[in-house]
Amino acid sequence: MFKLGALDFSCGRSLFRDTLKEAPESTAKVFVKIQLEGRSESNIYAQIDTGAAWSVLDPLVAKSLGLLDLDGQRTTLHTRFGRIEGILAKLLVTFLADDGIALEKHGTFFISPDWPSGRTFLGYSGLLASMRFALDPRTNHFYFGP
Amino acid sequence: MLRLEQEDFTCGRSRYLDFLKEAAEPTAKIFVKISLEHTESVFWAQIDTGSAWSVLDPLVAKRHGYLDLDGERIGLDTRLGRKSGILARLPVRFLADDGVPFDTEGTFFICPDWPPGRTFLGYSGLLASMRFALDPQANHFYFGP
């Protein structure tokens, strides 16, 4: 694992994917393995997006986990898909490790039935801003730590 | 520096800012120090792993004469709507507070309609070819080849 001086910088490592479609034609992005609310049936790939304020949950995943009807803070976000209404809710995210130890964090997610399905984003404010992480595009390794 | 087993993972480190403009940017973002064209001036640029291309502040582009470049013209759907501009390859230097600065090149989208004062560093044409790490506890940005 990573060391910063004598200290551990990260606790776990996983392989990230450049694309979810097995298609070399797509533009490279960073998709990492997570689990939501501690439920193993919710293992998904989510895109790391440091430019986004909030994390956003795929509405199909939200529906399957019964999270579409959560009683969260109602809000409207200006997105590249226009203004979308939804709720902000705190969810437990587990960054799954291929090596080392998984990391559990609570993150604030925007959940809306109007968000295009198939896209879960992990944003900076409310999630990534409270954890250490590193990317090595040579090996497609994603490192994470508390 | 950050070490991975017995090797250096990164070559340099700088402090980054969470908030650049307290009023205009109410949510935390990542602003790192860069210089362009290797001039002796520092600019802040936002790390945006969700964006394919880097975007250059049009005022900086104008000053360097990039607005008239004969680059590849494209239209892009951005967070600010559909924008038309050119793609151009530019040298970027990540300035280090500790360690060694990192010189690289990035493909930038240059668009006269882009809001001034905002330069973004995107994944596909820049960050995807370098190592980097963030430590929000210390506001440290690590980078290297």
Binding site: E25 | R15, L59, G71, E72, I74, G117, P145
Partner: protein
């Protein structure tokens, strides 16, 4: 033996236009593959050097000849405290010292050329 229903249409679009379409459709990987194909075949009279330049993977290098930067907290504090008075302008700062300001970045650079600062200035546009 099966027969194709119709002959494959010859490609009428230029490589450049097809690469542009792929880039605009968020298919940069495809654009790179098509560019590689075009460069390998070489049986066209298009200048693809512009696409080659912007689609090539970047290789960077540490540069030990460049002086280290320093903590910019004083500059940031200055911007926070003085931003109202300098809206729509570029400011050049070293620490809490304002070296130059103007709506024109060129003017700020010219001013810094005339009075070279001892340390690397931070330039920031206050919008």
């Amino acid at each position: 033996m099966g027969q194709p229903l119709r002959k494959a249409e010859p490609e009428t679009q230029s490589y450049s236009d097809r690469i542009r379409e792929l880039v605009e459709s968020d298919m940069v990987g495809g654009a790179r593959l098509l560019l590689a194909e075009a460069l390998e075949k070489g049986d066209h009279d298009e200048d693809l050097s512009g696409w080659e330049s912007v689609l090539t993977e970047t290789k960077g290098r540490p540069n030990p000849d460049v002086e280290c930067d320093f903590d910019r907290t004083p500059e940031f504090r200055w911007i926070t405290e003085h931003s109202e008075a300098y809206r729509g302008q570029w400011v050049a700062l070293v620490g809490s010292e304002l070296l130059a300001h103007s709506a024109s970045l060129q003017d700020v650079f010219s001013s810094l050329e005339r009075n070279k600062p001892k340390r690397r200035p931070m330039l920031h546009y206050i919008d």
